[in-house]
Structure formats: structure tokens, C-alpha cells
């Protein structure tokens, strides 16, 4: 559970208050998320981690505005999140790029939707194509790119749209290990440079410890938040260090504790 803040604390960018979400699968009621509480401060890098069915994706989709809570409140800057919007950009695991648009035009999609002028759109695109290092591929179509390059486009697309909050749903899950590590480094670099707030869903403990300020551990049946762990490990983090391993062991134990409970 997030530590209690004093009244004088500034408004959190995201405030999840006692949020539950139930789905109906025919006659069967599924409790995807039960009584979740989470406060996220501007500039934080949060990782949501847990086994499948723990509600981490549901929580992310509620923050994005794709889903509405069944009960409780999801607030951004104190206002309820009612629909998806440009301030909250989502990066999907399967990229969800527009296949008929080039890299440049995928990135231009958001700024164009907001009615920016042609000149502005061009400047924005140039800047973010450069940020993700795809200058040579600006006029390529998504199917011509590798998975890692596609995910870079997806990240640039969200950043080009002035998103303050970037929501990432297992974004590197489909990538090979090397590409994945490089994109993790690049993501951290962008995050440090742009002072973004990132909520990152993953099922890989190591990835979470490498990236996050706070690792939020969730557990299934019904989906709920188990623990909220602030990491003070200095950056850049060394995955081979004893400190890193200690945290990994600790989080791993928390992650697997509910398996025992379930089996009993």
C-alpha cells in the first residue's frame, strides 16, 4: 500500500481510490480488480508486476480511460478519468501502429488530430524520429521494421502527442533479450531527460527492478495490490550486483507467496 501522504503534499498525477472492476463472462462474474489504491507522483517510474490475471493490465487500462472502474475512483490531477486522451499515452505490447502510415505519419497522427499546423507537425516529427533514432526509417512502413523499431515508433508516437503519463503494457514482452535490454536503456534515458511519468506493466521481476522507482506487486483471484516497494538502488543499476539480487529475491518471494496460499 502506498505510504500515507500529509495534507500539504502536492496533488498526485494519478490517484486510484479503492477501485474495483468486475467483468461478466456469460453467467460468470470475474473480479479483475478489487479495492486497489495507488498514488502516483509526477515524474515517477512505476512498475506493476504480477502473474497473469492479477489485474495489472486492467488497472493500466483504467488509467488510460479505456475501461471505467465498477466502483471507486480513478483520478488524474484530481479529476476523474472518463475517456482516453492525449495526456495519457498507451504503448501496447503488439505495437498497434497504423500499418498504412509510414513511421513519420504514425508519429504525426496525434499532433494532426490536435489540429497542429503542418509546419509544427513536421518539427515535432523530426524531433521525435531523432529521439528514437529512426531517421533512416522515417518513410518506411511498420511491416518493414523489426519489433524493436516498431516499439520505438510506438513510444515516439505517444511522446509526440505531449503525453505527461506514459502507460506501457508489457511493451518489450515480444522482443528478443538484446533488443529488450537496449530499449530499457533508451526508455530510462528518455524518462530522465523528459521528466515523464511512466507506469510500466511487466511480468519480469528483473525488468521491474532495473527500471522502477516503485515496484507494485499484484496478485490474482481477485486481482489486488499486494505491496508497494520503493527502490532506492542508485541508477544506472547493475543487474549483477548483490543489492539487485537481494531485491530480486525479496520481490520473488512476495510474488510467489500467494501461489502457496492458493494451493493450500
Amino acid at each position: 500500500m502506498a505510504e500515507t501522504e500529509t495534507l500539504s503534499a502536492p496533488l498526485p498525477i494519478i490517484d486510484i481510490r479503492n477501485v474495483s472492476k468486475t467483468f461478466w463472462l456469460g453467467e460468470q462474474k470475474i473480479e479483475a480488480l478489487s479495492g486497489a489504491n495507488l498514488e502516483i507522483r509526477k515524474g515517477e517510474f512505476i512498475c506493476l508486476i504480477g502473474a497473469s490475471g492479477c489485474g495489472k493490465s486492467t488497472l493500466l487500462r483504467i488509467m488510460a480511460g479505456f475501461e471505467q472502474p465498477s466502483s471507486g475512483e480513478a483520478l488524474m490531477w484530481g479529476k476523474p478519468i472518463t475517456e482516453p486522451g492525449p495526456s495519457r499515452g498507451m504503448v501496447f505490447q503488439d505495437y498497434a501502429l497504423f500499418p498504412w502510415l509510414t513511421v513519420r505519419n504514425n508519429i504525426a497522427f496525434g499532433p494532426k488530430s490536435q489540429g497542429r499546423s503542418t509546419g509544427e507537425v513536421k518539427d515535432i516529427c523530426d524531433r521525435f524520429i531523432e529521439m528514437v533514432g529512426l531517421q533512416k526509417f522515417a518513410n518506411a512502413y511498420p511491416h518493414q521494421l523489426s519489433g524493436g523499431m516498431r516499439q520505438r515508433v510506438a513510444i515516439a508516437r505517444v511522446l509526440a502527442n505531449d503525453a505527461e503519463l506514459v502507460l506501457m503494457d508489457e511493451p518489450f514482452g515480444a522482443l528478443d533479450a538484446m533488443t529488450r535490454e537496449r530499449l530499457q536503456d533508451e526508455l530510462l534515458e528518455i524518462w530522465e531527460r523528459t521528466k515523464l511519468t511512466v507506469v510500466f506493466v511487466t511480468h519480469a521481476i528483473e525488468e521491474a527492478i532495473f527500471l522502477a522507482d516503485r515496484v507494485v506487486v499484484m496478485s490474482p483471484g481477485p486481482g489486488r495490490i499486494d505491496s508497494d516497494n520503493r527502490l532506492t538502488l542508485p541508477r544506472p543499476r547493475d543487474v549483477a550486483s548483490p543489492e539487485f539480487n537481494e531485491i530480486r529475491r525479496d520481490l520473488s518471494a512476495r510474488l510467489h507467496s500467494h501461489h502457496g496460499k492458493k494451493a493450500a
Partner: protein, 283 residues
Amino acid sequence: MVDVTSSAPAAETAPPRKASLPYLGKAGDFALAMIVPGLLLLLWYVATTQRWTRLIPTPAETAEYMVDFAFGGIYDDAFSATLHIHLIASMSRVYGGFLLAAMVALPLGLLIGRIPLARKTLDPFFQLMRPIPVTAWLPLSMILFGLGAKSAFSLVFLGAFYPILLNTIFGVKNVDPKLFEAASMLGCRGNAQFFRVVLPAALPSIFTGLRLGLGLAWFVIVVGEMTGVPQGLGAVIMDGRTLSRTELVICGMIIIGIVGYLSDRIVMMIGNHLLRWSPTHHG
């Protein structure tokens, strides 16, 4: 970040396209494609010169007649040097009927695919009408539109209509839901999504429908021109049958085949250009 990516290893770039085996080049492809037609021509030649049948002219006779049909100067009968007249008559019906079918089927398909009320009202009707073959409409269309060009036109329209309609509905209904989410989080919501997401996403299916529709338009033109029109390739074939002039029938068939093929290639070329973004849409 720029530094990191500029030194990206080859593994990160898209893999090179696999070459098809064995690769013989364009001339080789052409030679392979000519094997079956060549054998068929040989069979035709042998069958007619060996007198297996007396009702079918030899390839040489047919070729000679084809020249007369196109340019005249050999037989100088009622059909000499009339190819262009019949060809233009048929093409105007094929493309006219096809364009009209596209103009009606595309908006209808978009409507049925996107709006549940339209789907519930119209879809059952079209599903019910669809199994009726175009040829079965022939007597009715002759009553409704009379003997002549209008009737042929209406049959071509019917033939092209269903593939365009059904493929448009399919394309519009099967847009990846993730793309709607992506568009809405980028600030493109509601009706704006129609032009920026639905239409481009459905384009490959729409194109398949148009291509099938045009193919079927050529397919039904012979039936359409059975309704008593004086001109058209279908009319030539029907006249050839009643006059027992088999060479005329074969000439008409060959020309429909060639023109239909060329027309399909043109559509494919336009499609390949418009759909160059699609990895699965190349022919």
C-alpha cells in the same frame, strides 16, 4: 539515444526478403506460365487437323478469322472489322455496371459494417438475395428493363454488386480494435475515426471486393448480352452460336479472356500501389 541506435547491430534491422526458389528470372516465369496454354493449343491443333471433330476450326483458321474480325479484308462479311464496335459496347457495359455497383455497394457496405441498425435492417435481406445466381435474374430483368442494353447493364451491376458489398462489410467490421484504442488515446475520437482508421484499415478488403466484382462483371457480360443487344462480345458469341460459326464464338471468347485479364492487371497495379503498406496484399 541517437548514439545507441546508430550503432545498432544488423539483428535490429528488418531481415532481407527470401528469394523464391528456383529463381529463373522474368523470362523463366513467362516460359513456365506458357506451358499449359501451349499444351492446350497443341491439343486443339492436333484434334482439329486429325479431324477428331469437324465442328471446331483449326487454330490457323481461327487466327485468320481473328484478323478479319479485327481489321477486315479477308472475308468481308457482316462481322469483318467490327471488333472495336463490339469491344467498346461490352466494355462500356462492364465498366458502367461495375462503377454503378461500386457506387452503391461501397456506401452500403460501410453503413452495414459500421452501424448496427443498418446491419440488422439490411443484412438479412442481402443474405437472402445473394444465393440467387445472376443468370436466374435474366428473364425478370428482360421484363423490367426490356430487351437491350439496359438489361445487360443491370445484370452486370448485380454480378459486381455482392462481392463489393460483402468484402466492404467484412473489411469494415474486422478492423483491429487496438487501432481504435490507439487512435482515441492520440486524440482522434468518434466520427473522425471513420476516415482516419476505418477506411484505410478496410481498404485491402474493399480492394479485394472491387477486383472480384470486376472479374464477375466480365463473367456475366455474355449472359447480359444474351438479352438481345445487337452489339457486344456476348452478342457476337450468341450470333456465332445461332449461325453455327464456331470460329466467331472462339474469337469472342479469346478477346473476353484477354481484355478481362488486362483489366484485372490494371486493378492489381493500382491496388499494389495503394496498398504498398500491406505485407499481405501483393499479387
